[in-house]
């Protein structure tokens, strides 16, 4: 039943796309009217939210500002929500969408997700150094602290056989880990980076590779993904990764340093050298 619906939906989208007007030159349009319209979240602190004056600010609006500055045009932020962001882009209400969207194959059918991606959060373990963790498989039948309701508790338990001891909030999990109730704590990797810098956590380390990483993609209208507008954005993303601009913005908004941005920065700064 589900498959049938999906097929029907996919077919409908395919049909709609085949009738879509030929790639409009968004880049030209933006330059002509002197305004860049970006769809951004207004309810996702600190990535996109309203400040006391009502203006939309945050990590993602700052990225939008970078684009506008580069183009030498004015920026207009259009608040979007998850359920309408792709439609806004399809309908041409916005030129660019930067709205905490995970990169998923089915979404790539609808909007033009630009590579490289601009952000990601993944799952890692803050482990007691004495546990000497080298691989996720070592977690089998070990007590691992977690947070109640985290979506990855189940995959980690199912795939690696870890015995997840989940607590209500971060504080309880923290205390339980410090007291030795578990060998490690499985959580967002972005939450650990800040802790590792704290002397309180000197006996702990994050040695495992980050898993279940969910990258975030920004998007242009699908027909323009490989056109000038898409290429321009891809170039911007590469530049930001190379210069560490995104890491700078991350710091500005007090977002714990993400392993993904660090990795991308290393990758792209190497490319420049070669």
């Amino acid at each position: 039943m589900h498959t049938l619906l999906l097929t029907a939906a996919a077919a409908a989208i395919g049909l709609a796309l085949s009738f879509a007007p030929a790639a409009a030159q968004t880049l030209e349009k933006i330059k002509q009217r002197g305004v860049l319209v970006v769809g951004s979240k207004a309810d996702y602190k600190p990535f996109g939210f309203r400040d006391p004056s009502g203006a939309i600010v945050g990590f993602e609006p700052d990225i939008a500002r970078l684009v506008a500055e580069k183009l030498g045009v004015k920026l207009e932020l259009e608040p979007v929500v998850s359920s309408n962001r792709m439609q806004f882009l399809q309908q041409g209400k916005i030129d660019l969408m930067i709205a905490t969207m995970n990169d998923k194959p089915d979404r790539r059918q609808i909007v033009g997700i630009i590579e490289p991606l601009y952000y990601a959060s993944g799952v890692n373990v803050l482990a007691n150094k004495k546990a000497n963790l080298k691989s996720w498989e070592q977690l089998k039948d070990q007590k691992v602290c977690g947070i109640q309701g985290a979506w990855y508790n189940k995959p980690v338990a199912e795939k690696y056989g870890a015995d997840i001891v989940a607590f209500k909030g971060q504080t309880e999990a923290e205390v339980a880990l410090l007291q030795g109730n578990c060998v490690g704590w499985v959580y967002d990797d972005t939450a650990f980076a800040e802790r590792l810098a704290d002397p309180k956590w000197a006996g702990f380390e994050m040695t495992l590779p980050t898993i279940l990483e969910e990258p975030w993609g920004l998007a242009v209208p699908l027909p323009e993904r490989d056109g000038p507008w898409g290429k321009f954005m891809a170039q911007q993303l590469e530049d930001w990764h190379r210069s560490g601009k995104l890491i700078e913005l991350e710091k500005k908004w007090n977002i714990p340093a993400s392993a993904y941005l660090k990795k991308m920065h290393e990758e792209y700064s190497k490319k420049k050298g070669s």
Binding site: A131, Q148, A150, K154, E158, V165, V175, Q179, N181
Partner: protein, 239 residues
């Protein structure tokens, strides 16, 4: 499948992983309940006996215990034992990590037993005080020691009087075991919480929880009712 035809998502019946963890949660809950029921009744019986002791120190200690456990919320006690006291009781294991000696399940069992036990002491005391003074004097005149008179004469009579109140307290104890989820004891509420955050089937799991608890409490009430009737002495306690 039920889910596809009606939208009801009872994963515990068809997802092997969810089924296994819910079943384990059920077993953990039942184990915790059984341990606490027995331990709290034993604490109640012993405590009520000590309260009638001639030694003032013993009476004061029992009184202090009752005040501490009865007058603090069980959740606070649980946090206190697990996070505060637990951090001092550590043992270094093979790989060099100092682990707490007492597990979260044991802390929950200890804490809830003492919590319900404090009420049970008072419940039994009420029962003992309802036994006529003459009965004790008669037992003493027959040469019973204080302990023997308590065990063979007073307690059996007091128990009958205490049963309805005890029944209440034990039902409460069964329901209170759910707070063990705060220190990550994988009992039913904890497991249900995990399942509904993974499958987003909150209403379904809530119903499963309610039905399970109603059944478990129902079984306890039924057993206690049978016991109460079995112990009845015609003419002694009201019908």
């Amino acid at each position: 499948m039920l889910h596809e035809t009606s939208g009801i998502k009872l994963t515990i019946f068809y997802d092997a992983f969810d089924r296994a963890r819910f079943f384990n949660g059920f077993l953990t809950s039942v184990r915790l309940m059984a341990v606490c029921l027995v331990a709290s009744v034993v604490i109640g019986v012993v405590g009520a006996w000590i309260q009638g002791s001639r030694l003032r120190v013993l009476r004061l200690i029992t009184q202090g215990y009752i005040q501490f456990f009865r007058n603090t919320p069980p959740l606070v006690q649980l946090y206190f034992f697990y996070f505060a006291l637990g951090s001092y009781l550590k043992l270094t294991t093979g790989n060099g990590i100092a682990v707490p000696i007492v597990s979260n399940f044991t802390w929950a069992a200890i804490c809830l037993s003492f919590y319900a036990g404090a009420f049970n002491v008072e419940i039994f005391r009420a029962g003992i005080e309802a036994v006529p003074r003459e009965t004790l004097e008669a037992a003493e005149s027959l040469g019973y020691s204080r302990l023997k008179a308590y065990a063979y004469v007073i307690l059996p009579l007091a128990f009958r009087i205490s049963l309805p109140a005890l029944n209440n307290n034990l039902v409460n104890l069964i329901k209170t075991t759910t707070i063990a989820y705060a220190i990550a004891v994988p009992e039913m509420l904890y497991v249900a919480n995990q399942i509904w955050s993974d499958e987003s089937n909150v209403p379904e799991m809530m119903n499963v929880l309610l039905i399970t608890y109603v059944s478990l409490v129902g079984i306890l009430v039924w057993v206690m009712g049978r016991w109460e009737r079995g112990l009845r002495i015609p003419g002694y306690s009201p019908a």
